[in-house]
Amino acid sequence: MRIGVLALQGDFALHARALARCGAEAVEVRKPAELEGLDGLVIPGGESTTLLKLMEAWGFVAALAEFHAEGRPIFGTCAGLIVLAREVENPRQVSLGLIDVTVERNAYGRQRESFEARGQARLDGRPATIEMVFIRAPRIRRLGPGVESLAELRGESVLARQGTVLVASFHPELTDDLAVHRHFCELVRRARVAA
């Protein structure tokens, strides 16, 4: 199983390490042509404005729409969530719109307000307690119909999935807890079987 990690900017190396620990082959992606032959893609944490500018400059917007339409799973954390969301607020900005959620950027505050927490998740039908690190994190303000919340914190969804698109407002890749990456690898495995 080959899973790409968008390596334009951000903590892509940590995602690659987590995927490798789950038994996947992780591949850094800097150009759309490198999406060829991948079974899934992770869009890492980073700065969403920087990521979007680099994605637009290199034609990733159309390439990822196609990647998604082909049924290949995509997982976005923090900035990756912002990039994948249908609607982005504070400020409004363009995004790929591959998952029907509304996201508010920097919604907990600045770095001084960044925090860690433990939360309950439901992954592949099993409840799990997972470590969550929130860094200048976005908040998921609206879940569209067809979007399933997989974990909540203080009554708000922090991990959600619609079909083959998985998003988290926290950073599982900063912890040694592989539960969320395992869940994504399972999504990728199932998508391969379906294809």
């Binding site: 190396a13 800097r30 500018k53 001084r112």
Partner: protein
């Protein structure tokens, strides 16, 4: 992030913010307009300071923390992280920056030191610090004080990459050397480095710093950014190099592209075209010891 259980270092969420900046460019800005230019060009963060290093060098005088009003204007103007510089040892400038909600403090040799012997106790703050280093010992002393990110110092405001290269090679070479030493030699090595033994042992085992390692001081072109990334920097700081060039917006964009595609010579060649004039450089070997910024820090 590397497994740092048992080490007393900065919080994971603070080291985590540095992780998020990897592969990015952090640009020095003195006001809101420059911050906007930086953000539009794709900067991963901006660094607020009173004057860019080239001007500090030219004009002299005491270089301090940026005026509070300027920092607030910059925070209003952009959504990316805003860092700001405090003088070495000036923990009250740091307290003010924390109160303003700055995202990262750079305890920086570019400003005039406030203390000739001691750095800030960075564990006492709720926001993270980045500090400069010229070699592994200096890097580990700063990590031991709570820095969540290291940047090699280079020679700020020089437009000359040679010092940045020297410092990056010194830090990474120092790490490689540690990994080859038998355990009985580590205590003497810690003494020679002037670094905490726990961190020396950790680095010897892990083969990396426990916090991200970025490059600063002298980056003026896309090729400079590519060089530092290929040498092993995880992101770059660009100070005078952008706003002292003839077309800051264009150069800023080019350096962002070069930092992402640092291994791709075709991209580096393309973004290096039609950039206008780079900032004028200084032959750093001709600078008198007293004019060097990199020697500040203890």
């Amino acid at each position: 992030m590397a497994d740092t259980d048992g080490l007393r270092i900065a919080d994971r969420k603070h080291i985590g913010l540095a992780e998020m900046l990897k592969g990015g460019v952090i640009m020095d800005v003195t006001n809101a307009e420059q911050a906007k230019v930086a953000e539009d060009a794709g900067a991963a963060a901006v660094m607020a300071l009173e004057r860019v290093p080239a001007d500090i060098r030219k004009e002299g005088g005491v270089a301090r923390m940026s005026p509070v009003r300027k920092i607030k204007e910059i925070q209003q103007a952009v959504t990316i992280p805003v860092m700001a510089k405090a003088r070495i040892g000036h923990f009250v400038e740091a307290q003010i920056l924390e109160a303003l909600g700055v995202d990262y403090i750079d305890e920086s040799e570019v400003l005039t030191p406030a203390d000739e012997a001691f750095h800030i106790d960075k564990f006492a703050f709720r926001i993270p610090f980045v500090c400069g280093a010229r070699d592994l010992g200096e890097a580990l002393r700063r990590v031991g004080e709570g820095a969540a990110m290291i940047r090699t110092k280079g020679e700020a405001g020089s437009g000359n990459i040679v010092e940045a290269v020297r410092h990056m090679r010194a830090v990474l070479g120092g790490i490689r050397r540690l990994t080859t030493l038998p355990p009985e030699e580590l205590m003497t090595e810690a003494k020679n480095l002037g670094a905490p033994i726990e961190l020396v042992r950790w680095v010897a085992k892990a083969g990396t710093l426990p916090v991200p390692n970025f490059s600063a001081g002298g980056i003026a072109t896309p090729a400079d950014a590519g060089l530092m990334m290929q040498l092993g920097a995880e992101a770059v700081f660009v100070g005078s190099g952008i706003f002292k060039s003839s077309d800051p917006a264009k150069r800023a964009k080019a350096i962002v592209q070069a930092t992402t595609h640092f291994k791709d010579a075709d991209v580096l060649a393309r973004v290096s075209e039609e950039l206008g004039e780079a900032m004028p450089g200084i032959e750093t070997s001709k600078l008198a010891e007293k004019d060097l910024l990199q020697t500040r820090g203890w």
